[in-house]
């Protein structure tokens, strides 16, 4: 489903050189590594927000290396969530569907379904000011999953949450990914989180992506 073939990415002072890895359809992959080693850079390259120097990025068997982000159909939840300050929660869930010119009844149905699944039905009319960390995370997840992407990218989705909320969102992630069958690439520092969620576990070491022997 996701495949990096000899991809070189330069970002600031560091460079990822000829990285190659593959995540199969429906798998939940976790990418670990120390701060500043390029985990976010890999995610940004995959969703099209960062150019690669060379190599190929394949998604659903297609070479998307030079595709704009809008055409890749990849759901992305960045570390800072980047919710839209002028949107309500419902508008976040509707946004991608409106861009795809879905009919209003289809949009309403999908928003209802997502809100139910994420437990945010009571927040739909609210703006994003005053949402808790867990609620914001759920909205960002809903926004990324709204258009039924085949790939979901999560950049440290649990790092800013308290222990109880972290457990809730962790369970939610597992449920969501199992029920939707979305192929997921999740960045984390936390080994317990990786152990709880990952089908496949990758590490960045010395500029290379290496799969954990246990999951290989």
């Amino acid at each position: 489903m996701i495949e990096f073939k000899q991809v070189c990415i330069r970002a600031g002072d560091f460079q990822l050189d000829k990285i190659s890895f593959e995540v199969g359809s429906g798998q939940y992959a976790v990418l670990m590594g120390r701060t500043g080693r390029g985990k976010t850079t890999i995610l940004e390259s995959l969703c099209g927000l960062r150019r690669v120097q060379s190599g190929q990025i394949m998604v659903r068997g297609m070479d998307v290396t030079h595709w704009p982000p809008a055409d890749r159909e990849i759901g992305y939840v960045p570390q800072d969530l980047a919710l839209f300050p002028t949107f309500t929660v419902a508008e976040h869930l509707q946004f991608a569907l409106k861009l795809r010119s879905f009919h209003k009844t289809q949009i309403d149905h999908r928003v209802e379904e997502l809100a139910e699944m994420l437990g945010i039905a009571h927040l739909l009319k609210r703006g994003i000011d005053g949402l808790s960390g867990g609620e914001s995370q759920r909205v960002a997840l809903g926004r990324a999953l709204s258009f039924r992407p085949t790939v979901l990218l999560l950049d440290e989705p649990l790092s800013a949450l308290d222990a109880e909320t972290r457990d809730e969102i962790q369970a939610l992630l597992r449920t969501l990914t199992d029920s939707t069958g979305v192929t997921t690439l999740h960045i984390t520092h936390n080994t317990a989180e990786a152990a709880a969620l990952a089908d496949r576990c990758f590490h960045i070491r010395d500029g290379q992506v290496i799969e954990d022997a246990k999951t290989n």
């Binding site: 927000l49 300050p85 709204s146």
Partner: protein, 285 residues
């Protein structure tokens, strides 16, 4: 000195530290700040004391001044609206993208701010009348397009726009600098083109900056004088705006009328600033 005595001295010192007052800080800060506020208040008070209500009424009733008032309102509004139309995309491009020549464009935008106003007017005049291989911009606009500019009302607007737009661009650039570009990035992964991300995600966040930029552009246009005098002239009932009225009234020795018009401009500026600020605050809440 005994240990007990040392402890007592230490306690006394810590007591003194706790009793330190913030009063000198506030006195110094507010004292320095009030110098400027006082200067402006005194300037306005002197104007008010110099003129009387009768002088003010007499000045405002003059048909020349009424005509200048109408042209001022109209030209400032058109210049401010044109400025915000140009400043929003330019401010966005300068804020979001690193492209060759960006530094040069950034510098060019600032030129109207630092250029002496008369020089700007002179430059506009030269631009419109410079013969290029027998072709002249003003002659082409006048004869072929039927829209003469120099020494007419469009020249007033163009002179005001040249300066006020530079201030609007600065404001819009700072506005977009303060908006997190990650939201636009995420919008693009959701299916937006760059244009849609700008229109649907960035622009709705920038409305307060747009109000500020329009206000600044309007206020700058109101105060514009030098470029208008050179490029549009100071023809009564035709290219006269209130800043030119002050100059014309002064030049014929009508000091009372000049001061009355100055006060009228102060009132206009204050009303626009207050209305736009209230509008801004109201929209926020």
């Amino acid at each position: 000195m005994t240990e007990h005595a040392i402890n007592r001295t230490g306690e006394a010192k810590s007591h003194r530290t706790r009793r330190r007052s913030d009063l000198p800080f506030f006195l110094v800060m507010s004292g320095i700040s009030s110098c400027f506020i006082l200067l402006i208040v005194l300037l306005l008070a002197a104007d008010l004391m110099f003129t009387s209500l009768e002088d003010f009424k007499a000045a405002v009733m003059k048909p020349e001044i009424q005509s200048a008032f109408r042209l001022t309102i109209l030209s400032c509004t058109v210049a401010a609206l044109l400025s915000i139309w140009v400043a929003t995309p330019l401010g966005y491009l300068l804020s979001r993208y690193r492209f060759p020549g960006r530094l040069l464009i950034d510098t060019i935008v600032d030129i109207p701010i630092v250029l002496p106003p008369l020089v700007l007017g002179l430059s506009l005049l030269i631009l419109f009348h410079l013969p290029i291989g027998g072709w002249e911009l003003e002659a082409w606009l006048r004869d072929d397009v039927g829209f003469p500019v120099t020494y007419r009302w469009p020249a007033v607007i163009l002179a005001q726009f040249s300066v006020s737009c530079a201030f609007a661009v600065r404001t819009m650039r700072v506005t977009f600098d303060q908006i997190n570009p990650r939201a636009e990035d995420v919008a693009r992964t959701l299916g937006c083109s760059r244009g849609q991300a700008f229109l649907q995600v960035a622009l709705p966040q920038a409305w307060r900056g747009m109000i500020a930029a329009t206000t600044i552009a309007w206020a700058r246009a109101l105060g514009e004088f030098g470029p208008i005098l050179v490029f549009a002239g100071a023809t009564r009932m035709r290219t006269e705006v209130l800043s030119t009225t002050v100059f014309l009234e002064l030049s014929i020795g009508q000091l009372n009328a000049a001061v009355a018009v100055s006060l009228l401009m102060v009132v206009m500026a204050a009303i626009v600033l207050v209305v736009l600020r209230v509008l801004g605050t109201g929209l926020t809440s």
